[in-house]
């Protein structure tokens, strides 16, 4: 619904209140868009369809058939892969990581946007360039480092950064900061300078300018970023698999592998598990769709 409103608004700006005529070109465009949408939806629809059917039926009749409807896959998937526990693990990692990323990124962005130093551009460049770094290339040094960094026992039973939630939160924060700094600094640069001048006249300290002037104004940007970051960090499974040793501590995306058997994989069961794991991202996406799109275009238009 919200998308519809948005579209109408942008169209209205260009053409006035009258509806566009249906030209052949426009028909072609919509035909194309529908086709693309179907292609994108197909894998998800197929997974949902598969997840609702019993393995025995599809084994006997093939996947291009209808029948064998059951909800058992969901029950089995939830129990076998112990999703309840692993969803909680995902929360342990995602929530602090997102909050910390936004806080740290906004601090950096504030400095970059508010003050003009010589190193401003360099700093922004470094943060943005870090986005381009392939994470896998850092695997070995990071792994070694994590196995060397001790943690007190009350923080992690492994007594190391390795195999602890802290380590994963840290990794996610580190890798997500670059993008957030980039977006937030562009957003903050667009805030009127007069505000800060007024704040200074009123005697507001730098901290106050950041916390009580800038941050409230950045809410739309922060909301958009939070939406994106939750999805990204939640979907991350590579580091969790590599830097965790205890199966019980894996986030839900990594625990999906529990559904694959040693010799035999029940695809219907894996589909059910995948659908379950995808639900949180889908919920976030549909609830906060507007922010999603804005999050991706924020930096582009305001810079």
């Amino acid at each position: 619904m919200s998308t519809a409103t948005v579209t109408r608004r942008t169209e209205g700006g260009a053409e006035g209140p009258t509806r566009r005529k249906l030209t052949p070109l426009r028909l072609l465009l919509h035909g194309f868009l529908i086709a693309v949408a179907l292609i994108w939806l197909f894998p998800i629809a197929w997974a949902v369809l598969t997840s609702l059917r019993s393995y025995e039926y599809t084994a006997a009749n093939g996947y291009v058939s209808l029948g064998g409807w059951t909800l058992d896959n969901y029950v089995t998937a939830w129990q076998t892969a112990e999703f309840g526990k692993h969803f909680l693990n995902s929360v342990y990692i995602t929530v602090p990581a997102v909050l910390l990323t936004l806080f740290l990124a906004s601090c950096v962005a504030f400095v970059i946007a508010r003050f003009s130093w010589k190193l401003n551009l360099v700093l922004l460049g470094i943060f943005t360039a870090a986005n381009l770094l392939p994470q896998q290339a850092l695997l070995i040094p990071l792994f070694r480092m994590f196995t060397e960094v001790p943690l007190p026992e009350f923080m992690s039973d492994s007594e190391l950064l390795y195999d602890s939630y802290w380590g994963l939160i840290l990794i996610n924060v580190a890798f997500q900061c670059g993008f957030c700094v980039f977006v937030l600094s562009n957003y903050m640069k667009a805030l009127p300078r007069d505000l800060y001048e007024a704040a200074m006249v009123d005697g507001a300290s730098i901290w106050r300018q950041y916390w009580q002037v800038t941050m409230p104004l950045c809410r739309p940007a922060l909301a958009a970023l939070a939406t994106l970051e939750v999805t990204w960090i939640y979907n991350e499974f590579f580091w969790a698999t590599v830097l965790m040793r205890t199966g019980d501590k894996f986030p839900v995306t990594s625990s999906l592998n529990n559904l694959r058997g040693e010799f035999f994989t029940d695809n219907n069961l894996v589909s059910a598990g995948s659908v379950l794991v995808a639900i949180p991202t889908l919920v976030i996406f549909f609830m906060l769709q507007r922010h999603f799109v804005r999050g991706l275009t924020l930096g582009a238009s305001k810079g």
Binding site: V95, L102, T241, V242, T246, N258
Partner: protein, 442 residues
Amino acid sequence: MSRPRSQAEYLARLVPPSVAGINRRSLLAGAAGTGALLGTGLLAGCGDDSGSGSDSKNVSVGSNQSDPKPKDVTAKVMDGFKTSSGIETAINTVDHNTYQENINNYLQGKPDDVFMWFAGYRMRFFAAKGLASDISDVWGKLSGFSDAFKKASTGDDGKQYFVPSSYYPWAMFYRKSVWKQYGYQVPTTLDQLTALSAQMKRDGLTPIAFADKDGWPAMGTFDILNLRINGYQFHIDLMAGKEAWTSDKVKKVFDTWAGLLPLHQPDSLGRTWQEAAQSLQQKKSGMYLLGLFVGQQFSNEEQDDLDFFTFPEIDPSIGAKALDAPIDGYMMARKPKNKANAEKLLEYVGGKAAADITIKNDPATLVANTGADVSGYTALQKKAAELVGSATEIAQFLDRDTRPDFASTVMIPAIQQFIKNPKDIDGLTSSIESQKKSIFTD
């Protein structure tokens, strides 16, 4: 028009709680609640497990038994250990594939005291790197293992690093009812196998079911042909990178295989082993070279109809006594937190009591200890145990007998290439050889 805007504002308020103040809307309170829960949850989560290792009544086990049945059996075996020794075990289960892919990291990080792994090259590889502990002392107290099993548990330095727990053989499986219907006899030489296959074709059956979509099942065919044509020692040396793939011996293996390919199910690269096994189950194929797990594709009533024979002899001077029988078992980490307990556990899992528990709870496994009570075995299991017991040498399957990177990045594509184009054996073997040289560098 106003709705999305207010929604945006509404949502914007929720997100940075630090900015929005303490009590905004219910959802924010929820978020804060989650944060609070998180704090306590983290601490509680850590508190639960803290102290493991420092307590002398503890030992941790890394397990790759993530399938429901074996997972349950592992838990029961560990319960049995607790009852007999009073030592508590903490089982750390990681799914089979992740465990395997991460083993290198896992062992170099902080592994569990005892961990599950495979016999053969993969065990020797980590033993040679010093990532596993010598457990010859434990072997001194173990009984009931054949020499072939001991050989499979021994590292390059002649010491034992591995305690076998279960295994399964690879053989030619068939349905008794089908063979009875057509009056087929078990072939003992390659010629008899070819003749039998020709007869099956005339009877409208696909002689040998075959699938290699996942890349690994066809390795079994290569293994058994190499074992029959060149013998066990050559096979192991070839896998260890010590023999040349361009040698005539290897070419002969591919030549023989090329001759047998027309007897196999065509288009195998698009078929999973499950589908090939189903063609056997549906009586469309005559036989299938696979591991004992082929039985998973048969219903309970059909289990008795399943039988097997070992792959026939090709060279009389070599015989037909060697086979692939991957062995799973336990190893000890290089620096276990509690060595005494870890050794006690290894002794227990290698013993008769653990084997008995396994047989009782998972009828699909064959236990490595011959002292175990095997009265619960099905006829098929008894036969499989006899076959492996009488084997002179046991190979572990290609991907366990060689470096994992060689198996997955070189052999899988090479064998699939061969199946697509069985004619270019020279090109294939020289390509494998050159890739082998870049992998086996040390």
